[in-house]
Chain length 213, copies 4
DNA sequence: CATGAATGAGGTTTCATTCAT
DNA sequence: TATGAATGAAACCTCATTCAT
């Protein structure tokens, strides 16, 4: 997707590095002030680029949204692969714990990305919206797989796999989205451990007796 | 807060009704297209008001955000009171179930409010941001109270009350925020029942054995 | 063509009058300073409209070119009809004389239109280019018809009708295009009479003997 | 005029050749797309020069217009001299025929010069405008001289020498300016022969009887 | 000498807001 | 009271020009 963005430069390395710079600063600023409250000028100031320079590496302000989206690859690099890599050697419980932790840590590492996608997605062009939701869906799908395996092995007992997977993913994302609240009460470590605990409680086989339903 | 918004009209009833109209239509439109992609003109068209007329009842486009926030009272009307009203007559479990259900239904009734607050809050003036978060915090506090009571009565066993309350609230809100995903998999009824089930599982006293944490 | 131009106004009469105003002033300015040396601001100043007001009646600066083209109808109104109306009552010679005169006078009345089309046509969108050339072609065709009739009646003797028609039309247009030169040497009256004389000389039946060819 | 254009180079030969290159390519491009739709970048691409290199040989984009004008010398090289050189040996008719032909051929050889001067002259600085019109005026003057001689010798009979000279020159220029029309109907050879014929008809001594004037 | 990355002035366009009717 | 025509501030974007390499 990034390939199609206009540039006046032919130095591929430079283009790449400038775009990374732009995406990083802009994601931060968009998450903080919103896409429409951030001018190209300001982004330029933040990156130490002139307004005109920016337009050597993008064609449109909207393209910055594309850049940010394409930086998601960095954020998720290895997440989906690693999660499943050791599937055989580890128990489902271990895998789940590992993935929940990893997921939360990644969210914490680039919180602006998550906030961005919750908040600014509407201003992005449709392909970007689709792409971002795709990531989300993939994450849910990963956890579905893990849960399914755990159920088959008898480690887990889950009524609705999709629902639990969704809760896990949303739970991780909240760390970025509801920062203002969560940071007041938890450290990252605490939050992660709570998420893990909660998750395991939701899936553990010897279910507590729920009196009504 | 709404009191301070400029109006050229002296007919209080008219002011009120016009503002309700504005808030309703605008909330919808902002949730759909975003604050900055919705022009005053369009809002006027949607409400059947001329652009000029709108400015008889507000001073600034931003004021519409204030109106929307103050309409939240309608959304939450009775929620906090009812939740606690029958505290004595009902068990904590019953109260919890009731409140989770009620919460989800309210989110479902005006999804644009929730989406609005997740997505457009950044464009609102600080007092409005604070006010909106206040609602959120109040909801969390309500569930904290319920959980605390349940713990004291021995019905529940919860490690971290705040965390669970937060999960409940976020879970409800997700119904509006992740519509695009959840509607594909669940009806409102299913979602609510899953939320309730999950919640109870998280708090039930005869806990499942979690191996690590 | 004008129909498709964006406007925010619904008052059709107003739209029309504003657009006429714009077209007139802009044609003048474009002919004088060129499309690209004339800012929308300046056009606004000239018409006594604010920059923003202009954009209530057009969507794009380019649209002004469309407006100008569509004002050509006014310039040519009646030209093609009248020319042929009295075809039966008048001799071909009389008709020719009349049309040449009329053509020159029209060019003189709105010289900026002709200069515009010689000079700025390249900046106009393709449909406008086509439309303008269409007018030119129609004018040539009119003279072709007159010449053909004269030839049949024996009044004229013309080798290449198209060529002569082209010369007549270009000759008239030059009055606007080469103003800077022609005005130094001729008045409009003189120019017209010279054009007529030249034309008749080119078509008269008792041809002079051209010694070589 | 060209002398005054800034250069950072001291190698006069290089400067000259670079400028010729620039003028040729740019004239073409300006005639095709217009001065303002042609970027310095594009001119550089066309000539195989870097954008920066161009600015070693000119000071301003406008200077390219100066270069183009000064390349007109090439176009007209010999035209004025040759025309009059054999004035004594040839009849006025022969001279006239020769010059009309030569004029048309030169227009055809570098049509972009003519189109350029009809269309982009307004974007050129005043001295250039004056210079270009000077060429035009010189051409008219040349034909005036020829016509005058022919009148004196009795070969021609012309009412208004200036007018006829103007018609000849414009007629030649039209071959470049109204290409889109003329090429559909004539080859260069046909056009030239028609121009010659027409010219001779306009000046021949045993005039046809024109009934009015 | 040649290059192209960087710059910012200046243009177009949008849209919240005012104000006369 | 209701309207929408008028406005201009402020945003995006282009591109001539400079300058370090």
């Amino acid at each position: 997707m990034e390939r199609r963005i206009r540039t006046y430069s032919t130095d591929e390395g430079l283009v790449k590095s400038r775009r990374v710079q732009l995406a990083l600063y802009a994601a931060e600023m968009f998450a903080d002030k919103g896409y429409h409250n951030t001018t190209v000028q300001e982004i330029g100031d933040a990156c130490g680029m002139g307004k005109g320079t920016i337009y050597h590496y993008i064609g449109t302000k909207e393209d910055i949204l594309r850049l940010i989206e394409s930086k998601a690859t960095v954020l998720w690099e290895g997440f989906f692969e690693e999660g499943l890599a050791n599937f055989d050697k580890m128990s489902a419980t271990e895998t789940l714990r590992h993935c929940v932790e990893d997921f939360c840590r990644r969210v914490d590492k680039y919180p602006s990305f998550t906030r961005f996608w919750y908040q600014e997605i509407r201003y992005a062009p449709p392909e970007v919206q689709r792409a971002i939701r795709e990531w989300d869906t993939r994450a849910v799908a990963l956890f579905e797989k893990i849960l399914a395996k755990g159920c088959m092995s008898g480690e887990f007992k889950v009524d609705d796999i999709t629902m639990v997977a969704h809760i896990i993913v949303s739970g991780g994302e909240m760390w970025a989205v509801k920062r203002w609240f969560l940071r007041k009460h938890f450290t990252l470590k605490e939050y992660i451990s709570a998420q893990v605990k909660m998750t395991l409680r939701l899936v553990c086989a010897n279910e507590c007796i729920v009196k009504a339903g």
